[in-house]
Every structure is written in C-alpha cells, then in structure tokens.
C-alpha cells in the first residue's frame, strides 16, 4: 500500500461517513429514523437495494469463482427478475397500504401475534449471525493479503458503520448506499479495463474471450435438469425464483429499503429496475474473473493465492519440497503460456484440426499444473491442517495488489470496504427496526412517546452494531460453523416464504394450520439437507411448497377440531 492508496481509501471512507451523518440529520420520530419518512424516490431505493445485496464477498469471491469454475454462477440470478415482477404486483401494494414498518407486522395482521413473533425471531437470529460474518469475511481476506491486524480491521469496519447508521438511521443508510454504489461501479470498471490493458500486446480482447471460452470459462448456461448440480438453468430459474422471492419479500433488510418509497410506484420502479440491471451486473463481475483467468495464462500465478499459508509452509520442514513444487509449477506455466499463445493464433488460421490439437495441448499442461498445485495444497495442509484448501476468495485481491498501479489499489480497497459497510448498515438498520417494532413496541412497551421509541431505536442500532463486531471477533473460532450459518439461511428461507405466500393468497387458511404446516415443512427441508444429495437452492422450493400443501391438509384437521369443539360445547 502506497501513500496515494491510503489517501484514496481513507478519504473515500471519511466522505461516506460524513455524507451519511449529513443526510441522516433531523430525525424526529421512528417513521423518519426507520423509514426515511417514506419519502425516497425510486433511484436511491434501487441503489440501496443493490448495495444491500452486494456484500464485500461479492467483489472478492465472485471473480475468483469464475476463475476456478467459469461463469455458470450467473444462472443463480435468473429467477431474480421474475421475483421482482411478482413482488411488485403483490407484496409492494400490500405493504404500502398497511403502512407497516416491518414485514412481520403483516403476519399479525393476517394470522396472529405468535406467527409475527416467530417470523421476527427467525430473522433476528439469522441476520444477527450474518451481520458478524459480513464484517468478518472481508476483514479476514484483507488481513491476510495486506498483513493487517484482523481484530482492528473488524473493529474499524464495524465502527464506521455504527457511527452513521446509529446517528442517521435509514436516511443515512440509503444515501450512503448511493455513494457506495458509485465507488463500487467506478472501481470495478477500472479493474476490468486494466485487466484488458495488461493482457499481452499480441492478444486482442476478442482472442481473450475466445480463449476463455475454449478453456471452459464461458459456461454461462447449462440446460440439464440435475437436482445435485448446484448451478443449472433450472435451479436458477425455479430455485432462484423462490430464494429471491423470500429474500426480497420477507427479509427485513431488503423490505425496509422499498418501504421507504414515497409511493407504490417508486418502490415498484426500484424493484423492477433491480430486475433489469442485477443479472448484467453479476455477469460483468463473473466475466471479469473469466478474463482474469486468461491474464494468468500469460503471467504465472502463485501456486496458492493465500500468501500467509504459503509463507508459513516456506518456513516449515516442508520448505524444500514446496520450493521444488513451485519451480515445477512455474516451468509448466511458462510452457502453457506458449501453448495458449499458439491456440490464440490458431483462431486466425480457422483450421479446426490445428485448433483442436492446440487445445488438447493446453488442456494437458493445465492438468499437469493442477496436479502440482494439488500436491502443494496437500503440503500446506500437512503443515497446518486448519488452512482452507480453497483459495478462491484471494484470487482477485491478489491480482489487484500485485499488478494494479498506485491509487487504483486504494480505490479497489475502498470498493471492498464500501460493499462491506453497505450490507452491514442495512442489516443493523433492519435488526434495530425488528427489535423495536416487533418486540419492544409490540410486546414490552406499547404506549410511549415518539422520542422514547426514537432513542430506543438508536440504542438498538448501536447494540446490534456492537453485537456484529463481537460476532466477527468470535467468527474465527467458529471454524466450519461459518458454513453451517450460511446454510441455515437457505434452510429457513423457503419456509418463511411459504408462510407469507399462504398469508397473501390463501385467505381461507388460518394461523394454526399455517404455523404447524411451517414446522412440518421445515422438518422436510431438514430431512433433504441431512439425508439427500439435493442442492441448497431447491430447499427454497421444497420449504415453500411444503408450507402451502401441509397448510391445505391441516386446514381440514383444524376445521374438524373446531367443529367437534363447538359440538362438545353445545352439548
């Protein structure tokens, strides 16, 4: 990190915090603090929705994912535009007319207070853990690659968010999202432009795209129907639809964004534009990773991108063996660079046989390089069994640090900080709203002054912020539980969506049938999780349909029970 990088990073962060404080001033009641006086226009809401969904991991991990696995992850988002249409038609007008503060208030309106409390508690448990991880994940990567102190990085990110979120509430959160998305867009376009510029002079952009395709990285669509394949067209369009319906329709961190709209039209426009721009945005980040893969065909990549793990093994007894593997890897990579160049030249000759021969040659060298890399990872793991064998999250930032010029490194780090802060701010804001509106105001203290609830809302935001920092601190000790926490989100989303859909569309079904149907559906999802090979996107479909089907069946049981109770009391 050079002085100019520090200057750009720190000035961006100070600007975000000050801008948030300025925009969030003057809140007089909780409507202003939690819903920005319901006065936002569609464009800031759109940016806020996008900034909430895009966490730091999106920018750190997604390019690396395309580098390793190709761009097939884009299929994960295919259900999103459909979800935006459905939510615009149904959820947005209902939530607006009911003038609710949180999505869970709807559950009391439609069912009963116990279902509302259940929804709120599920959200708080899940998001409370996630808020810690949203801070921890980028801090970990930054601390490893830049040799920063993990605890201070956690504390720094968390504190910045707490300052403007607590002081300014939703107005500050929404308006800082505007600035954060601006920094993110400028940073990612610059990174993309520089990758293309840093390609060898004799490789054109079109050749880089062709090479990326030939080496299997442009695998955008897979129409095969396979429940065990995580990313296919069908899992994206069906499973993804249910996941996005649940995320945007029932997760308060997103619902709160469009509840701030000054009218139904503004909230709708924000969601619909998100449906238009989200998939291209995700594709651009993945495409950046696919071109980064081509960049590393001509520039030998590190054998393992986690530099702390490699420096540790170099200091251990395995040092000599590891250096030998590194030399082998370098030699193979150099040979591969030549073969890739010849493959690129063969595109111009339009000789299919020659092209196929060169492709096989590259593939053979690629396999050799992978074999050497596998051995190196085995050595790293033998030296320290706790090291994560996947280095996907480090690929993009490693490229940024080693190849991008002074100033741009600071800008990309500002992107990562901005993304981390934007997601965390929405989470704290939503957690505070749910705590105050669904628990404190509903169950503990129903009649008090606006000033009192405003103060409690600020304290709740501060409290959740400190809790998130604490969770980020203990996250390093949770080990594999981190993955478990992420899976828990997917396991519950479908069921929560099912409860809301029954509430919206099946008027004859009452609270008790839905409540017990949700429990049965959740058990079914847990069965699929533990005893089948079905991948996680399908849990959203199973959970949601489970609630609907079981509630229909239970409706008859509860109706009969009610009848027999009535008969008994008549007798």
């Amino acid at each position: 990190m050079r002085t100019i990088d520090w200057f750009i990073l720190i000035s961006s962060l100070i600007f975000i915090v000050l801008y948030g404080l300025w925009k969030g001033r003057g809140n007089k009641d909780i409507q202003g603090y939690l819903l920005a006086d319901r006065n936002m226009r569609w464009f800031p809401i759109l940016l806020s929705i996008m900034a909430t969904q895009a966490s730091a991991i999106t920018f750190l991990s997604v390019p690396g994912q395309a580098y390793v696995d190709g761009i097939r992850f884009v299929q994960f988002y295919l259900g999103l535009p459909l979800a935006m249409i459905i939510l615009s038609i149904t959820v947005v007008p209902i939530f607006h007319r009911l003038k609710i503060y949180t999505a869970y208030e709807f559950l009391e309106n439609r069912f009963d207070v116990k279902t509302r409390t259940l929804g709120a508690m599920l959200f708080m448990t899940q998001r409370g853990l996630a808020a810690g991880l949203t801070i921890y994940a980028p801090s970990l990567i930054l601390s490893i690659l830049l040799d920063w102190n993990l605890h201070w990085t956690n504390f720094f990110i968390g504190s910045l968010v707490i300052i403007y979120t607590t002081a300014g509430g939703t107005k500050a959160v929404n308006w800082t999202h505007f600035q954060q998305m601006l920094i993110i867009t400028i940073g990612m376009f610059t990174a993309f432009f520089l990758i293309i510029k840093l390609l060898p002079a004799d490789i054109s952009f079109l050749q880089a795209v062709q090479l990326s395709g030939k080496l299997g990285k442009l695998n955008a669509i897979d129409f095969s129907f396979d429940l065990t394949n995580r990313y296919t067209f069908w899992s994206g369009i069906i499973g993804g639809l249910f996941l996005q319906l649940s995320y945007f329709g029932t997760d308060q961190s997103q619902v709160q964004r469009y509840l701030t709209g000054k009218s139904v039209a503004h909230s709708r426009m924000a969601l619909l534009f998100n449906g238009i721009v989200k998939v291209p945005m995700q594709f651009s980040i993945l495409f950046l990773g696919a071109i980064l893969f081509i960049f590393y065909q001509f520039n030998t990549p590190p054998i393992f991108f986690n530099s702390v793990a490699t420096s540790q093994v170099k200091k251990s007894n395995y040092s000599a063996q590891f250096s030998q593997l590194e030399d082998q890897y370098r030699l193979i990579s150099e040979k591969k660079a030549e073969a890739v160049r010849e493959l690129a030249e063969s595109f111009n000759s339009r000789n299919n046989e020659q092209e196929s021969e060169k492709k096989q040659q590259v593939q053979a060298l690629q396999d050799q390089a992978q074999e050497v890399r596998r051995n190196a990872i085995e050595l790293i793991r033998r030296n320290d069994p706790d090291v994560d064998p996947s280095d996907t999250n480090y690929i993009f930032l490693s490229y940024v640090i080693h190849y991008l010029p002074a100033g741009i490194v600071g800008l990309i780090l500002a992107v990562i900080f901005a993304a981390s802060m934007s997601s965390t701010a929405s989470e704290l804001n939503a957690l505070a709203s749910t705590t105050v509106v669904d628990i404190y105001k509903r169950l503990l203290r129903q009649k008090s002054s606006d000033r009192h609830y405003l103060l409690v809302s600020k304290m709740a935001t501060l409290g959740w912020g400190l809790y998130a920092i604490l969770m980020a601190e203990v996250a390093s000790r949770l080990g594999s539980l981190i993955e478990a926490v992420n899976i828990v989100g997917s396991v519950f989303y479908g069921t929560i969506l099912g409860i809301f859909l029954v509430g919206f569309y099946f008027k004859s079904i009452k609270g008790s049938s839905t409540f017990y149907a949700a429990i049965l559906a959740e058990l079914l999802v847990l069965y699929c999780f533990y005893f089948t090979e079905i991948t996680f996107l399908w849990y959203n479909v199973i959970g949601c349909l489970g609630v609907i089907i079981f509630s229909f069946i239970l409706r008859y049981f509860f109706r009969n029970q009610k009848l027999s109770t009535n008969i008994a009391s008549a007798e």
Partner: protein, 48 residues
C-alpha cells in the same frame, strides 16, 4: 386473534412512469431476461 385482509382493496391504481399500465414495465423486465438468457446461451455455444 386472526384477521383477514381484503387483497382486492389493497391493489394499487397508481400509474407508472412512461406507460399507461404497469404491464409494459413487467414486459420490459421479461424481454430483458429473455434477451440475457439468449445471450448467455449463444456465448456458451459459440465460444465453447
């Protein structure tokens, strides 16, 4: 205590920007998605 919400009375009659009906906006989102899927399919097919 269970309440019922009359969904019919909750539907919004607010006009969208640019068009007379929201259906046009929904159509734009659907067409955009279709074009993207077609683009991804061609990208996979041509370059792989």
């Amino acid at each position: 205590m269970e309440n019922n919400i009359d969904l019919k009375n909750l539907s919004s009659r607010e006009k969208p920007p640019l068009f007379k009906s929201w259906n046009w906006w929904y159509l734009i989102v659907l067409v955009n998605l279709t074009v993207l899927i077609l683009f991804f399919y061609l990208l996979s097919k041509i370059f792989n």
